[in-house]
């Protein structure tokens, strides 16, 4: 919402400039700022009276006007149809500067001298009206400077209102806040309505079929209306409020809307088939065309205003095309009503209609301003549109909505705020906001009906706090000793994971949990996707069931940007459908691709391979004391057959890993192998112990022996290691595979594996004599079991 500063000045006394006003309102919960003026500045424009209008000799559409501009009389060429003798208009003199930067110079058009320009409102930046020159009130002195005279130097105030404050969606509502802060009162418009004898009640009967949906419906009838342009003072208020002026009838309803916050609607009375208003809810699938020429299909929640034969408006939201005020309208039925917020909210959301009216009714208008607003609009129609107001307001209000009464306990206020505000201070604050107070043994507060947000004592606490000033409330810090916090195992574990992988040189990535489920299906993933009903795009249409697609996406993006050293991990949530419900889990993904940054002279250029990934995983398990990770061959559709595993700790299945399949890589246009592991963190946590127990350092020295054997290529290293450990007779403490070799000197189909064996006793220093038999036993076991040949 936006309003001109001057309108607020009219409604309430205060001494602040726009900046200070905004600061004070903002600090009281009505967020606003003033960063620009209502009108862009212009200069050199004066009130000019047209003395003579002559037809231009060369052009039919132009006329030559002689204009009295006070000190002198000048001639100008003008194309506006409303240039007429006696009209007082805006005249830009030679040297004038217009808002768009134009500087007025004397010109000669087809032999006619033009010493200045008669301006439209649009040329002066005062409205969108460009087809005619501005029409000034006759009272404005000829030759006076218009910028000064019309007091156009006005700041614009822009509000950012919270949804709980519909009462602030009007000039009077804001003025009420200002009055409370400034210690003054709101000066509401004072008017005396002249009514003709004819009774409105005889011209219209109002019936509300559903008082729940529409608790109040009032109307006035005004005849003899002349639809025309509104005067400048009215247009300028609307212009500042960001509303486009249309004609005097519509403009008046909009002015009252912006002044009182009460939506009004003017119907062309002649377009009613019956002298009657029937407010009812719509029938299922009933059709209605609003005045923006859109046809809507309605439901039973929607409220219709009808003339008993046809619907004429979608109640509280928008009028109908069939009863709209037009230039020939003579007699108007002016509606002022109060609708149930819930009905309006449902209708507006379902039909996706935004209107000033709907927004206010949805958030809660004031049922008890309905008559005043209607009367004021009728008054303005009589003053500005020549209307004659029929006697009486026809007001259907079956059950009057009374102000809510709430008990206020000053002690509770001070307890919640930690303040020592006195009861009289509290009462003053509530009074200043126009709340009623009945003070006896207890303080009872009557909440005005324009404040639907205040329904409980705690809401009054906020009213008191915000006017008292949040900045005056002290600060205290309760000692934390009474409640020591503890970190959960999960929290600590995840921290350890980050630390471990970070130390191993991996970069943490973070991706959105939404993916394209079609892509997932193409990758052969199980169709357990949890789809969104209202996704942003097909790319983000479902919650991910694993972290694989996101990882490939990040890899692809980096490779495209020629970043080829990719060792990445992500910790994030996944979810999938399970039976009638779903399961959400936190997973860890590790992705390795490319090669070490070869731009460093000392770095190996070798591309990362499966064992780089496995090494990270082993160091991860070791660092987090999780035990040994076991790989079991298992095909996963998005991993390459043969390099695709399930991962276990003992019998616990914890995840999967391997090399991304060519199909997966193709889908992301990746040409470099990607190695991938995904672990379910929830499965790892039970395996993790926070507590570390130190292992004593060996007392006695170790003895080392190397052994190299040649075996069939089909024999896997871990089988040899198992045999080695199994034959170590309690003195073999460690065996490391330090070389794998195939090629020259090694027979086809064979490979050479070399191990370093460490022997040690906890009881004494081992001698060669003690190690030798064990070492020989290991050799013979390898020879027996694997037909291994010693390599010499």
């Amino acid at each position: 919402m936006q309003l001109g500063f001057n309108w607020l000045k009219e409604l309430v006394d205060f001494e602040w400039d726009a900046a200070e006003l905004c600061e004070r309102l903002t600090m009281a919960g009505v967020a606003c700022e003033s960063t620009r003026p209502v009108f862009e500045e212009f200069s050199g424009v004066v009130a000019g009276k047209i003395k003579k209008v002559e037809r231009h000799p060369e052009s039919e559409n132009l006329s030559i006007c002689t204009v009295d501009i006070g000190l002198k009389t000048v001639t100008t060429v003008c194309g506006a149809p409303n240039a007429a003798v006696g009209l007082k208009s805006s005249f830009a003199t030679v040297g004038a500067e217009l808002p768009d930067g134009t500087r007025i110079e004397p010109v000669e058009k087809q032999g006619i001298k033009s010493e200045g320009m008669l301006c439209s409102e649009k040329e002066l930046g005062l409205s969108d009206e460009s087809s005619i020159i501005m029409e000034l009130e006759a009272g404005i002195k000829t030759g006076s400077d218009l910028w000064e005279k019309l007091d156009l130097d006005e700041p614009l105030i822009e509000f950012e209102l919270t949804p709980n404050r519909p009462d602030c969606m009007s000039a009077i509502g804001i003025a009420r806040e200002i009055a409370a802060l400034a210690g003054t009162v709101v000066k509401r418009p004072e008017f005396e309505l002249d009514e003709i004898e004819k009774q409105a009640a005889e011209e219209v009967r109002i019936e509300i079929a559903d008082p729940q949906a529409c608790p109040r419906y009032a109307a006035r009838i005004i005849e003899h209306i002349k639809v025309a342009r509104s005067p400048f003072w009215l247009k300028r208020k609307l212009f500042a409020a960001g509303i486009r002026p249309i004609n005097n009838v519509v403009d008046i309803t909009n002015l009252v809307l912006m002044e009182y916050g009460q939506p009004l609607h003017a119907f062309d009375y002649e377009l009613f088939s019956m002298p009657q208003v029937l407010v009812r809810t719509a029938l299922e699938n009933e059709k209605f065309t609003t005045l923006d020429e859109k046809e809507h299909t309605l439901k039973e929640d929607d409220i219709l205003i009808t003339d008993a034969t046809k619907a004429v408006a979608l109640g509280g939201i928008m009028g109908g095309l069939n009863s709209e005020v037009n230039e020939n309208t003579n007699k108007v039925l002016l509606e002022s009503a109060y609708f149930n917020p819930t009905n309006i909210c449902r209708t507006r959301k379902r039909l996706a209609i935004q209107s000033e009216s709907a927004v206010r009714f949805e958030k809660g208008a004031d049922p008890n301003i309905v008559d005043t607003a209607c009367n004021y609009a009728a008054y303005l129609l009589s003053k500005l549109a020549g209307g004659r107001v029929l006697n009486g307001i026809v007001d259907a209000y079956p059950r009057v909505i009374e102000p809510l009464s709430i008990e206020l306990r000053p002690s509770r206020v001070n307890q919640l705020l930690a303040t020592d505000i006195t009861a009289p201070q509290m009462i003053d604050i509530l009074h200043s906001l126009e709340f009623g107070i009945k003070s006896g043994k207890t303080i009872m507060v009557d909440v005005p009906t324009f404040r639907p947000d205040c329904t409980r004592e705690v809401d009054l606490v906020e009213e008191i706090a915000r006017i008292y000033g949040y900045d005056k409330i002290g600060t205290s810090l309760r000692a934390s000793g009474d409640l020591l916090a503890e970190r959960s195992t999960e929290e600590l574990f995840i921290e350890r994971i980050r630390e471990n992988l970070g130390r191993q040189g991996l970069y943490e990535i973070m991706t959105i949990n939404l993916i394209d489920p079609d892509k997932g299906r193409k990758l052969g993933m199980e169709d357990k996707f949890i789809g969104l009903l209202n996704p942003l795009s097909a790319d983000l249409a479902a919650y991910r069931t694993n972290l694989f697609m996101n990882m490939l996406q990040v890899v692809a993006r980096n490779l495209n940007r020629r970043q080829n050293d990719l060792k990445l991990f992500e910790i994030g949530n996944i979810a999938y459908r399970a039976d009638a419900s779903h399961i959400e889990e936190t997973h860890l993904a590790i992705g390795i691709c490319g090669r070490p940054d070869v731009r460093n002279w000392a770095v190996s250029e070798q591309e990362y391979d499966f064992f780089d990934l496995k090494g990270v995983a082993e160091e991860f398990c070791k660092g987090l004391r999780l035990g040994n990770l076991t790989l079991k061959e298992q095909n996963h559709p998005f991993l390459e057959r043969g390099v695709s595993f399930d991962l276990y700790f003992g019998d616990t299945h914890v995840g999967l890993g391997g090399r991304a399949s060519n199909n997966s890589l193709n889908l992301y246009d990746i040409e470099t192998p990607v190695y991938y592991i995904e672990l379910n963190i929830g499965k790892l946590i039970p395996l993790y112990t926070k507590d570390l127990v130190y292992r004593k350092l060996p007392k006695f020295p170790s003895v080392w022996r190397d052994i190299a054997v040649i075996v069939d290529e089909g024999i896997f290293a871990d089988r040899l290691l198992q045999t080695i450990y199994g034959s170590g007779n309690n003195i073999l403490v460690n065996a490391e595979l330090f070389d794998v070799y195939t090629g020259r000197q090694i027979e086809e189909g064979k490979k050479s594996l070399a191990f370093n064996l460490e022997f040690r006793s906890e009881e004494k220093t081992l001698t060669d004599e003690e190690v030798e038999p064990v070492f020989n036993h290991i050799i013979s076991q390898l020879q027996n079991q694997f037909d291994a040949k010693l390599r010499t």
């Binding site: 600090m27 919640l416 810090l477 916090a485 973070m510 919650y543 980096n558």
Partner: protein, 337 residues
């Protein structure tokens, strides 16, 4: 030529010779030529015996002074040659070092951890909740029934009529209060979603840390106190805070908190859009409606709650101008943190 003249000439030659020294080989050469056994000085000194006593004394003194001077200047030069790198060694220690690349933590995670640590120090435990949340916890129990205007503030991704991607981490507050008893003091960090087009300024996924404290006699002053302590710890001890009344359906009274801009110290700059203030979080006293839902007596217990948007703080703190960078994971971005 008399000996005095010869000494002067040697001195002049020496001065020229040291100009041309480039490395320690040259230096050694000059040293041999001017101070060595076969140097001209030595020849002069050898010839002294043929002179008279006075002359012997005089020339001897001059020659010795010159020798001392030469020695000192050569010593000086020797150390300067080593220090300025004009050595003869082929060891190129300017080659880049062999680094083991360190990993990096995502800046959002770092920021969350820094904030969490501060609250941990003030006695806040940590609770987390699911990202796929029920309408009940995300909205209803937080005083946002269906058809409530406040739901407009949250553009929600729906999974079904009853399941949503959580729009804030505040549902964790309800879940935690439900299963614990006061006093309860926790933070709830996590990821949230908003059905909003992805742009430079906003993303469909974002992170939040919610915090709350429920006990007897918890007041608005306690809320101010804990947030002032947090802000000073995180942004620096001279930061100022401004509490502006605001609205959240689940707190009453509610406030929006601004801090004085840490870039310009409140003077006004591009970061704070000339206002001198930066909006960083929303907070308030927990609404009695929430207590009703979790079964606490609002007369007996009061509490406060706050919610901090992590991306915003991270953008401000590091001067990042595009929120999408956080989810793009360009390694050139990640390696800066």
């Amino acid at each position: 030529m008399d000996l005095k003249q010869q000494i002067l000439e040697i001195k002049e030659n020496f001065a020229r010779a040291i100009e041309n020294i480039k490395d320690s080989d040259d230096l050694e050469q000059v040293k041999i030529e001017y101070l060595g056994r076969k140097s001209r000085f030595n020849q002069i000194l050898k010839g002294l015996k043929d002179l008279g006593v006075e002359e012997k004394k005089e020339i001897g003194r001059l020659a010795n002074l010159a020798k001392q001077d030469f020695q000192a200047r050569l010593d000086e030069l020797k150390s300067s040659i080593t220090a300025s790198g004009r050595t003869d060694s082929k060891f190129d220690y300017t080659l880049p070092g062999k680094r083991s690349r360190l990993g990096r933590t995502h800046p959002i995670v770092t920021t969350m951890r820094e904030i969490s640590d501060i609250f941990f120090g003030m006695g806040f435990g940590t609770e987390i909740g699911p990202e796929i949340e029920t309408d009940y916890y995300n909205f209803q129990a937080l005083n946002m029934p269906r058809d409530h205007p406040a739901r407009d503030m949250q553009d929600t991704f729906y999974i079904s009529g009853d399941l949503v991607l959580r729009t804030h981490t505040t549902p964790v507050q309800v879940r935690t209060l439900e299963r614990s008893k006061p006093p309860a003091r926790f933070i709830a960090p996590g990821r949230c979603y908003r059905n909003e087009a992805i742009s430079v300024r906003s993303h469909a996924a974002f992170h939040q840390i919610d915090g709350f404290f429920v006990d007897r006699d918890v007041s608005f002053a306690d809320l101010k106190g804990v947030l002032v302590a947090f802000a000073r710890s995180f942004f620096g001890s001279d930061v100022k805070l401004k509490f502006r009344p605001s609205f959240f359906p689940f707190t009453e009274p509610s406030a929006e908190v601004d801090i004085s801009c840490f870039l310009c110290n409140g003077k006004g700059c591009a970061l704070c859009k000339r206002s001198g203030w930066l909006e960083i979080l929303g907070c308030g006293m927990i609404d009695p409606v929430v207590f009703d839902y979790v079964g606490y007596d609002p007369e007996a217990f009061t509490g406060y709650a706050f919610g901090i948007g992590i991306e915003r703080i991270c953008l401000l703190k590091y001067g990042i101008d595009d929120i999408r960078l956080f989810f793009e994971n360009d390694v050139r971005f990640l390696e800066q943190f």
